[in-house]
């Protein structure tokens, strides 16, 4: 009798020891009635994230090329061409901004490309001195799209005034360096997704906090809460302080860009939730399907209907959030409230339904 119990204890201890490791490869080969997280990760990587970066990379290459053309020949025509490219690249950036995982996380990609408001006077000082190192973390606020926004729109009243600034070598150099850095960082992140990192990401099917689903979901929600809700609407509208702050608007110096950026960011978040392929109408597995599998289709519906409310509320907003904040900030605060309702649905309800922990800390539970 004692022997049996000893064997049982031993077997169970071995089992315990094995089970704390995970061999992600085969989570379910019989495929009946189980949700395949590996397939969801593959859909995210192959149909959404990698194509988005690939597309964005081609726009940043264009951006660099047109910047070069403009600095070689600063004309109003070249400025307009460059500005158009800047706007389209900035919009496309909204399709990759949330993927702060892997190489992007390691490089602080998003912070280098889109930290705003820009430290304008620091930028001017560096241009004047001609000595700077854009690779330093201390220079987050002096480069990326906010810097281009300023350098292409904020240097003068008219295009002629702006072009005139580029007679100076220092302005040319800084502008070109900013564009090049956007392009080279994007190149690095993009090639990691076209290469090794894709497999690392997709094979991370573990249910633990180190698994890709948990880690990325944290990123997804953080992006939505901090960068979309607070960054694009909350801070400019003064939702946290009670005092509106136009300088916090994204693309502050561009005439009508901020709302486009906002709408694209919402679309990206919503498409991701739906598992919609980049630039295609097909859909694969994502949060929506996962919730439906877990019998929480009701919650998926609530989340989507809230996205609907957010989108229809956005129709009322001015193309320029700067003028919206200055003329009728109440509408901005309404936008914030609607975004906030979605935060609760995503960060609380969805995460709970998927049994994912936010900002995981490893400690025992009951």
């Amino acid at each position: 009798m004692k022997k049996i119990s000893r064997i049982l204890i031993l077997a169970s201890l071995i089992f315990t020891a094995c089970s704390s490791e995970n061999d992600g490869a085969e989570s379910n080969e019989n495929g009946v009635d189980t949700f395949d997280r590996g397939a969801m990760l593959a859909n995210w990587a192959d149909n959404i994230i990698a194509p988005s970066f690939n597309n964005f990379k081609s726009t940043t290459q264009q951006l660099e090329d047109l910047t070069l053309a403009f600095t070689l020949n600063p004309s109003e025509e070249n400025l307009i061409a460059l500005r158009n490219q800047f706007e389209s690249s900035y919009v496309n950036f909204q399709t990759v901004a949330m993927f702060d995982i892997g190489k992007a996380e390691e490089l602080s990609y998003r912070r280098f490309l889109n930290t705003y408001p820009l430290a304008t006077s620091d930028v001017e000082n560096k241009i004047a001195s001609g000595s700077y190192n854009l690779e330093l973390p201390s220079s987050f606020k002096e480069q990326g799209f906010p810097a281009l926004d300023y350098l292409l729109n904020g240097l003068g009243e008219t295009d002629a005034d702006i072009v005139a600034k580029y007679s100076a070598e220092n302005y040319k150099n800084y502008l070109l360096d900013v564009s090049k850095r956007i392009n080279s960082l994007t190149e690095e992140v993009n090639s990691s997704w076209q290469g090794d990192y894709r497999d690392t990401f997709v094979s991370g099917t573990s249910s633990s906090s180190t698994g890709s689903v948990d880690r990325f979901t944290n990123k997804y929600i953080m992006y939505y809460e901090t960068f979309l809700r607070s960054g694009k609407i909350g801070y400019p509208a003064g939702a946290f302080t009670g005092t509106p702050s136009p300088i916090n608007v994204e693309a502050y110096y561009s005439a009508d860009l901020s709302k486009k950026l906002y709408l694209q960011a919402i679309k990206t978040t919503q498409d991701f939730f739906n598992g919609k392929y980049f630039n295609s109408s097909s859909t694969g597995m994502s949060y929506k399907q996962y919730l439906e599998f877990l019998d929480r289709g009701d919650l998926a519906d609530d989340i989507l209907s809230q996205f609907g409310t957010i989108n229809s509320q956005a129709i009322n907003l001015n193309d320029s959030f700067k003028s919206q904040v200055e003329t009728n900030n109440t509408l901005m605060l309404v936008a914030f409230d609607e975004l906030q309702k979605e935060v609760v649905l995503l960060k609380l309800d969805m995460v709970q339904a998927l049994s994912i922990s936010i900002n995981y800390v490893d400690s025992d539970g009951d």
């Binding site: 089970s19 189980t34 249910s207 009670g242 960060k347 936010i358 400690s363």
Partner: protein, 454 residues
């Protein structure tokens, strides 16, 4: 009746089970403390946080900075001394005090398991666990007794029985039995377990686990007590606890319960275990086998029994205190802790605090991560007493920063066992108007649902 009670308290039994229990308890506690340190939890849970959530009435218990490590060292050493039975009384008192102090430092880390360890070590203070197979008994044969009063072993069985049985009673509710919550949320997320992963996706498994878990908790004390079912029951104990270890991040607790359950076995089994230990360490066990009856001064004996009796009456009553509150227990958590309510809730919250300067009308929102660790924020966001304490902390903090006439509001939502999240605390109530107390917290919004059962 009275005669049989007196007779019971004058009857003796073999001391071996208590000795084995003492050794197992001491070793597992030492291992727990070492594991806690190795996981970096001393630093993470007690040194890093800028603010700690205190238990009501124990606000004076705070981490000691770097001396917190010393506290853990003392606790670990005491556990070791308990295991070998050296200076036992001092060791177990030291263990009880240091362990309980650690648990009282921050209620963020509250677990029923820790509470169980605290009260178990308290009761061990009053038991002659060093009278057999201990260094104390080895060195001083005057302190060595092979026979101890029967109640000394029975009271550990009783405590274990209370833990299991009350945990079972707490499962008699509609969420657990009818909706299979929260297991229906938790189990499918274990899809990557070897062998079991796919099974965990099935709905019936959640129901099977819920119902068998409830039956296990309610029945296991009796099956362990009854000689003919004891061995099968012990196998069930092993399977149950190993399974919980596999499925949930539950730490050392399963091992503690498995080792504790050995106490139900007859002295013969325990003598075999001690023989084994003796042969490993070259201890002459016969030296302890003196057949002497444990002797105590009548006054001391009376006192001990009185303390133990009061202790158990409290243990039996305390879990029912939630009946004094009229609202849904799972929602308000008033009377929830210290009641063996284990794994009953998947509950999470979202709480955003607003600080208002009543003079100027200016307001701003608080970034919780400026003050709390992610773990603290998680626990705070769905427990009203945490929310209240944090609001007062924020007020103190911003007063020091020069704000005066502060008001603190919270916008909060809580999701419980798969229900859609609902507003939790009145958003228009200035939390500073309330102090923590055992009274019902009126600023908690209604649950608008019903969980039937105990």
């Amino acid at each position: 009746m009275r005669r049989s009670v007196t007779k019971y308290f004058n009857s003796f039994t073999d001391a071996a089970p208590l000795a084995v229990f003492r050794i197992g308890f001491g070793i597992l506690m030492l291992a727990s403390i070492i594991r806690f340190y190795l996981n970096g939890w001393i630093e993470k849970l007690y040194i890093t946080p800028k603010f700690h959530f205190s238990y009501y009435g124990f606000e004076w218990v705070k981490p000691l900075g770097d001396f917190t490590y010393l506290l853990f060292i003392i606790c670990g050493l005491a556990a070791f001394f308990v295991a070998i039975g050296y200076k036992y009384r001092i060791a177990i008192i030291t263990f009880f005090l240091s362990f309980t102090y650690i648990e009282l430092m921050d209620k963020t880390t509250y677990l029923n398991h820790y509470y169980f360890i605290s009260i178990l070590s308290f009761i061990l203070i009053f038991l002659p666990a060093n009278s057999y197979f201990s260094l104390d008994a080895w060195k001083n044969s005057g302190k060595a007794f092979q026979k101890i009063p029967r109640w000394c072993i029975d009271c550990i069985k009783l405590l274990l029985a209370i833990v299991y049985f009350y945990a079972g009673l707490a499962k008699l509710n509609s969420d657990w039995l009818i909706r299979a919550m929260p297991l229906k949320i938790w189990l499918p997320s274990k899809y990557d377990l070897p062998f079991l992963g796919d099974l965990m996706q099935q709905e019936w498994i959640s129901y099977a686990f819920s119902w068998s878990g409830m039956l296990y908790d309610l029945l296991i004390p009796f099956l362990l007590l009854y000689r003919r079912t004891r061995f099968a029951a012990f196998l069930a104990v092993i399977i149950f606890h190993v399974l919980t270890r596999v499925l949930f991040p539950i730490g050392m607790f399963p091992y503690i319960m498995i080792v504790s359950a050995l106490i139900f076995f007859s002295p013969r089994v325990h003598h075999q275990i001690l023989n084994k230990i003796s042969s490993w360490f070259n201890i002459s066990k016969v030296k302890f086998d003196n057949n002497k009856l444990f002797q105590n001064k009548p006054k001391q004996k009376k006192f001990t029994i009185l303390v133990v009796a009061i202790f158990f009456i409290l243990q039996l009553i305390l879990p029912w205190r939630y009946l004094l509150y009229s609202n849904e227990l799972f929602w308000t958590e008033e009377g929830y802790r210290f009641s063996w309510r284990v794994m009953l809730m998947e509950k999470a919250g979202y709480a955003e605090f607003k600080v208002v300067d009543a003079d100027s009308g200016k307001r701003f929102y608080v970034n919780n991560s400026d003050f709390l660790t992610p773990f603290q924020e998680k626990q705070m966001s769905f427990q009203p007493d945490f929310i209240l304490q944090y609001a007062h902390f924020l007020a103190d903090h911003f007063r020091k920063e020069g704000h005066s006439n502060i008001e603190v509001y919270v916008e909060s939502y809580v999701g419980l066992n798969g229900r859609k999240s609902k507003p939790y605390i009145s958003a228009d109530v200035n939390l500073l108007n309330f102090d923590d107390s055992f009274e019902h917290k009126t600023f908690i919004l209604p649950f608008y649902d019903e969980i039937k059962g105990l």
